[in-house]
């Protein structure tokens, strides 16, 4: 499983890194980015799902 952020949609709500700090990190402007290449470690699938649901812009994508 892998997570990615659609940069066109992201508007900096900051929910992804609040919900799943192991998978996302904030930048100096408060916008979220995936950690490393976005690969979701085993056992963090639920965090990935929560981050995707919590984004008001539907900007977090999960690829199986």
């Amino acid at each position: 499983m892998r997570v990615a952020i659609d940069r066109e949609r992201c508007s900096g709500h900051g929910r992804c890194y609040a919900m799943a700090p192991e998978l996302f990190v904030d930048d100096e402007a408060g916008y979220g980015h995936v950690v490393d290449d976005g690969a979701v470690p085993l056992g963090s699938e639920e965090e990935a799902r929560r981050a995707a649901v919590s984004c008001p812009e539907q900007a977090v994508r999960i690829d199986q």
């Binding site: 900096g12 709500h13 100096e28 402007a29």
Partner: protein
Amino acid sequence: MVVEVFHVEDAPLESDRTEGWSYVRAAGDVIRQRDGSWLLTSAEAVRFGHRHPEIFSSARAFDRLGSPVPLIPIASDPPDHRRYRKVLDPMLAPRVINALEDDLRAQVRSLIAAFADRGSCDAVADLGRLYPTQVFLTLFGLPLDHRDQFIEWSETIIEASSPSSDGMSAETVETALALFTYLQECVARKREDPGEDMLGRVLSLEGDDAFSDDEVLGLCFLFILAGLDTVTAMIGFTLLHLAERPALRRQLRDDPSLIVPVIEEVLRLEQPAAMTPRVTTRDVEVLGHLIPEGSHVFLCLGTANRDAEKFPVPDDIDPAQADNGHWAFGGGIHRCLGSHLARRELRLVVEEFLAAIPDFELEFGPRPTVVWPSGTLHLETLPLVFPAGGRT
């Protein structure tokens, strides 16, 4: 001919937002109001509005407020909007707020300590009105000793900008002038010695990023219009819901990790800025309704945040659905610039309030009501009672 009779101003929101927003939602996804303006109420319609700033423009949407300076960045469209946000977002980013957190926590703790021994307080007057202005002054590097004067000025201006106001009275104009004069003096002083605070950083911008004096004043004015009474209102709503739910308060005490989800739920249910204005740049079809070019459109966050398709328990607090992506801070490119700061203020208020006063309830009497119609849904007062000294 169809005569439109609906107007959101008639919604019964005063004592119960659930009743009020149900009334609005029942009128449809896309509603033409009797004054010719439009209301988008469903999650899908609101999302469409957020995703198309080129159709739903913000540049002229705030003209009603009659601001003498451009309201930056809320009343702008791309590409200007992008330029403003590029420099402003980093100034209100979580890591900037992290650096202020200890100071902001100490300030809210001291405000609460001032009434904790009394056994009663008006959470709006004694905390909600004071704290956001202190935070603004701290962030902008302005002296806290002008707090009460500042509150008086800003409340007069906010009141004049509300839809129920008759517009600018002589008193309002005088107040606006006094506030602008004060801010201009601060700006002049800060141009000499900018410092590391937000105002200093805006004034230090150079080249293409530099703000004109008008733009700096417009930014200050926006903070006053958008960043003070909204947080005041949310402090009131959050403490209202906690006062009414002793079991939830106990849950928060046993598991403080629930504080943030509960705040998110109160944001979703009570978002003070419940309708954000836009003006259409062309004819547009939304869910089968043709909205003509030049129409005033309101994105109704109050109803979208209670859309049953998105929230299994649409009208009550359920920490389990707190991560379902609400729009209390709007959405799209105009997502509230101060959302990270507002969230932090609310968390610090709740943490410190519960630490000092674990048990509190509404003073006996009618349930506090909100002012409606109003630009910002808010409680005028929130009288609370608790064991004197807070801790029992």
